[in-house]
Amino acid sequence: MQLNRREFLKAASAAGCLASFANISYIADGAEMRPGKPVLVVVFLRGGADGLHIVGPSNNSDYIAARPPELRVTDSGARAGIAFEQRLDPASEFRFHPDAAPLADLYRAERLAILNAIGLKAGTRSHFVAQDMIERGLSDEKQLASTESGWLARSVTTIGGHISAFSANTSPVYALHGIKNVLSVPDISAGLGVPWGTATSEFLRSISLSGSSSVHRATLEALDILNVVDRGILRDDSGKIIQYRPSGQASYDGSGDLMRSLTSVVRLAKMDVGLSVACIDHGGWDTHEGQSGRMSSQLKQLSIGLTAFHEDMAASNHKVVILVMTEFGRRLRANKSGGTDHGHGGCWFVLGDGVRGGNMYGKWPGLSTQVLDQGVDLAVTTDYRAVLTETLFASNMPMKDSFPAWRPETPPLGIFANRHQ
């Protein structure tokens, strides 16, 4: 089935998937920024996270046959997974990995939704090609060379004087490529001052205005943005930065490197600099070897980090939508290194305000050889852009040009209850 945009919207309304979907011209014509909209936080699990080991169909015989117990979510024993309700595949009992217990709690609290068998329809099993395509919003490699902007960059409305976008990296992730004034730093907790203060800023500003190279532009942009953020960081009377204290019950202990990225987002949200989107990377998911232990520690970090961040944002009264994505899932069959190789269909998550959580979305293709992609990998039954589209819409972000080359092939998933205004 191939739907054009208008049919997609009509179908969405008819299905009641997007309850407050009255303003159709919004999506068709692009939208202005509105007050009260959530911060959209995109967490990219780099390396191809093994969705089948995060939420697994524990009692499925193909699943059991393909992997040793330490590489799947089991339904018995001391490390049994955490069962949850889902309607995607009534024949299977899906469970969360035991170290994803905090995510299971969020799922039960209907804050978190699972998207399964999702990803790129294209056949690539290369991390780097897959990431490049997803971050540009493509599924055809031939368009890579001619697409010089990221899907989020095309969707975010930049406003002069605002820091609309944050990338918790040394330079912006590709999803934010193509817009100005993206704050890209791994961490803001130690401040973002410039050495030797105003002498440096003044001198570099005047020198950079006299040139036009990308380095001159980058110098100017960095001076402006770093200064805005540095002034916004809370300091005591002596000028010392006040240590960050999370709101509510949030505790980031055990979330590893995610802590500095996630708390940087909350700090920026609290600063009121106009933050609209944030991108965070979480590496270490390329588990070709020793997956049992690595998955355990990766999932602990991720679950603790996301739970703390969700609580921190809620308790400080900031709306948030968190999208957790990865470039592909991993091979159904384990290798003899105690790991799994690159696969196809993956598992994503959405959590936060307005999410119709406690559901697993998509279409479960099954794990028997005949229905596996190329006979080896979980098939992709939902194009990842279906999720990006719904997430952008729910986050009240313009999406006129977000995915110019794509038309939805399936009805909306209905991940969100309503749209933030």
Partner: protein, 516 residues
Amino acid sequence: MKHSADLYALSRLAFGPDEVSADEIARLSLRGWLNLQLHPDDAKDAVFAERVENLKFRIKYNESKDWSAVDEMRSLRWLEAPIEKLSELADPDKPIANQEKSRPRIEVIAATLVRAVYSRWQTREVLCDFWHNHFSVNAWDNHVGIALPVYDREIIRRHALGNFREMLEAVSKSTAMLWYLNNRSSRTGAPNENYARELFELHTLGRDAYLNGIYNRWRDVPGALNGKPVGYIDQDVYEAARAFTGWGLEDGSGLGGGLKLPRTGRFIYVESWHDNYQKRILATEFDPYQPALADGLKVLDLAAFHPATARFLSKKLCVRLLSDNPPESLITSSAKVWTNNKTKPDQIARVVSHIALSKEFAQIRKAKVKRPLELVASYVRASGFNFSPTEGLISEIDASGQRLFGWPTPTGHPDAVDYWIGMNTMRRRWSLIAGLSENWWGTGVFDALAPLSSKEITAERFISYWLEQLFGDQQPQCSPALLHAAGLLPGSVINNPKQACRLVGLLAMTPEFQQC
């Protein structure tokens, strides 16, 4: 005054000009200088040898039940060590502090900084940096880090200007790569595909030759039916993974029947781990039951000599030495030199020479930016102060986005201007320059007044001297702005060392000094 053509050449074929290299290139011309550089002789690198010999690096850890506390300035002891000796650090039966296990990595980083600043064989160091990123391993994993001195010395530096096919084989058998891309644990039956995939995608044919999005069946790949496929698909990865089963390490693995491999860290081929059956890789048939190693070696031949590899590597070298978008003409001609010399022992040196002496190399300037390591080394070389690397400096380079020998994925650091001018890196560029100028990390005192003999030096003369040191005959027009920013009136006398080094530091923070 120094010619900008020479200075730009030295900013790309060396870690920037210093007195020796600037003089040498002016005397010998680029061709003569490069010819020397492409035939490095370690016996003639006395300055580096003396500095690394005298370098002491802090090591500090608390006592535990198994060891006593250590806090000392220690000489480098692992750089020349054999793998068997280094592997003792990985022995799980011996309690060893983590700081001792990470010491080989830290020593290689320290030596890399000393070489970048002081080695006479600058072009080789530039190529070592290139190959370390091309064959990237993450030495923050201690198993890899322990093997880093051997990887740096025997694999990367030995072959940096040599023959690619030989280098590829050395990498494939190296302790560092066998750990990093897991081939040491790959076994027949369900092999680990990590190495095989990155061998094609990152080390040889390149991602442009990965055609899985287009072709599901090997016969459909153009050229395949003539045994000359233009690219590879997943089936080639699967089969190549089978070919490399049995390529392992003496890492203590069990062999069955209670037997175990020793823990020397040496390469070993284990026949019983190898998948002996017939294979088809890059449209080439592999007969069953080949002699030991033959399957893997044949894959290395197919990959190293593939036309896509010639193009991929030639382009990558042009990107390193010229611009993110090098001219097609130069890529093509370099690939030709690459292929024509594919079995020569100095294949890589010939390609580098072809690129460096091309008209395109002379014409294209300022298209790249220095990465933090290059920024640091070029600033130290231009300012000429007595420099030693320290942990503090290494941390700052790390925080700037260049974690040496520690890029988390096997791609190595991106060689793209955009990555290196992100806000974090821009800010850290300034702090690297400020920190070196004011000796924040104990790297050495920079006395910017020392080279100027006169006591009564005006700000204008001071700035003009340092502009020439940093930029030669192509200087940014920044003298008035600098005076203004520093609150100096025209004609002011510069005699405060702190003010002096800040003025030079500000010049090195300009966009112009970042470019190369």
